[in-house]
């Protein structure tokens, strides 16, 4: 993605504000920098590097290793490759449902081969409780393994679901369950099948929080506080939003940019329709003013004034020096008029009238 041009607007003693223009019109930034007469300093800033892509999980390689051991009838090696439940929960945390399902399915196969029917049944039921689709790998397994999955699904379906309450420090945080987003919006309550589930709470501008919860008895309550995202994560979140069609000057975009740029005062500019320029001012991540103008400097000034970043320019006729000058002019005019009237030139014609 093209790195957008960003302008930082800084007060001498206060954190700088940032002006952001749309990536497709970098000239807006330059025009914004030409704004004059403001008691603030305008400057640009580069978008921070986005967070590195998450490293691929080890689940897939473990599954490959386990499958190889299973084919060789080395069920102990098969089991040891997939013994860790974290292989499943990590994959779910990455929202890689396929990897999680394959890991569980092959673990079921390994346990059947290792003559651990109870363990195989539990894992099959966990797979069913997670609601994950059976991976195509199941077709490669033995019939006795294949039959376990529908049985486990039936057993899980017959069990009553358990209520789980999720709360977060951020109102409106999105809750995802077992890698499936959109479960609910925190604070919320949902019904889950018994078993181990991966609950994820996320919000723009915050670092997502994962929890592995063993849901057994009713009344499970999870409180997952969120911590503010670092600039690189915020930048990645902004880029994701932008790629999804989010307007560059939307409130969410401005908030993420403010975090990504560590800018307490941020002006976001974007090309509008009909030659106009749209803009939004965010202070501490919250949009305080929006505007649309033809001239960028006027728009920047307008946003900063309406956002109370700078005091509005007092009209000249409301300034005291003007009225002092008016008063002085009135006095001077009065005195001059008085003097002129009192000293009007006199022309006296003299004539003889005996």
């Amino acid at each position: 993605m093209t790195t957008p041009f960003l302008l930082t607007l800084a007060l001498a003693a206060e954190p700088p504000a940032v002006v952001v223009v749309s990536p497709d019109d970098p000239a807006l930034a330059a025009r914004a920098l030409e704004t004059e007469g403001l008691p603030v300093r305008l400057s640009s800033a580069a978008m921070p590097a986005m967070a590195a892509a998450e490293a691929p999980g080890v689940t897939d390689e473990r599954v490959v290793a386990a499958r190889k051991a299973w084919v060789q009838a080395d069920f102990q090696r098969c089991l040891s490759a997939l013994a860790d439940d974290a292989l499943v929960t990590d994959a779910l945390g990455r929202r890689d449902a396929t990897a999680a399902a394959r890991a569980l399915a092959w673990r079921v196969a390994c346990k059947v081969g290792a003559r651990q029917p109870e363990g195989a049944r539990r894992d099959a039921e966990w797979l069913a409780a997670l609601g994950l689709a059976l991976p195509p790998d199941v077709g490669l397994m033995t019939p006795d393994v294949e039959t376990l999955f529908p049985a486990a699904a039936r057993a899980v379906d017959q069990e009553a679901r358990v209520g789980v309450t999720v709360e977060s420090s951020v109102a409106g945080a999105a809750v995802a369950v077992d890698g499936r987003p959109g479960a609910c919006i925190a604070p919320c309550r949902m019904e889950l099948r018994r078993g181990v589930h991966v609950i994820e709470v996320s919000a723009d501008g915050y670092t997502p929080r994962l929890a592995v919860a063993a849901v057994a008895a009713p009344g499970v309550a999870l409180t997952l506080p969120l911590t503010p995202a670092d600039p690189s994560l915020a930048s990645a979140q902004w880029a994701a939003r932008r790629a999804a069609g989010e307007a560059v000057d939307s409130g969410r975009s401005a908030r993420l940019l403010a975090t990504a740029l560590r800018a307490s005062r941020l002006v976001v500019l974007a090309a509008g329709e009909g030659g106009l320029v749209r803009g939004a001012l965010a202070v501490d991540g919250v949009v305080q003013a929006r505007g649309e103008r033809e001239a960028v400097p006027a728009l920047v000034t307008d946003l900063l004034v309406r956002g109370r970043v700078v005091a509005p320019s007092t009209p000249w006729w409301k300034r005291w020096p003007f009225w002092v000058a008016v008063g002085a002019a009135v006095v001077a005019t009065s005195v001059t008029t008085g003097v002129v009237l009192a000293n009007r030139p006199v022309t006296t014609r003299v004539e003889l009238s005996p």
């Binding site: 006199v346 022309t347 006296t348 014609r349 003299v350 004539e351 003889l352 009238s353 005996p354």
Partner: protein, 213 residues
Amino acid sequence: MRAAWLVVALAACTVQRQVSLTFGAEGEGLDGFMCRDPQGQLLLDRARDGDGGVQAAALVFDFVRLGGVPGCRTGQLVKWCASRECRPLRQTRACVPVTLPVAAPMMKREALRGAILEALRRAGSTGVLDDAPDEFVIVRAVGTLESCEALTPKPADVDLPAFDSGALLGCAYSCPVLLDRVEQDVYLGFETLTAQCEQGVRTCSDGQLQWQP
């Protein structure tokens, strides 16, 4: 255009006044025109020509700068001008041709006064000066047989032409007056307690109002 507006504005601000010079309703100020020389001859009789006629005369008006505001009495004026420069303003001299009467034998003083006044009135109201000086002056009227042409300064003249004392017919003067402010007619007169006042006429018509022995 701007200059024209300025002129219009200034003109609109200018106060136009008019002041009349008078010798009094009955000619009381004409004593200086009825003076006699030490031989008892009326100065007015100097206008009589050999044919029994009367020569043309001139009434010359001067506005005399005083450099201050002295008293009005003759002695005060002479004393003031003895130590200061009292000088007629060159550009303000005005001359009016007149024909003054000569005295008939045994003519009484009051009759002569009336005749002089009548002669002056026959000349009608005459403009003396279009713009009076913006300072205290005395207005002096000198009757003389000299012509207006001879007494009107030429462009090259630094000083006003002096009067020929032998051609003087009379004189009158006002109190020190600021003509731009005065609110009455300006009265011209002549202080004398005797008819033999030719010396006073010479002093009155002197260029610097100096005492003339």
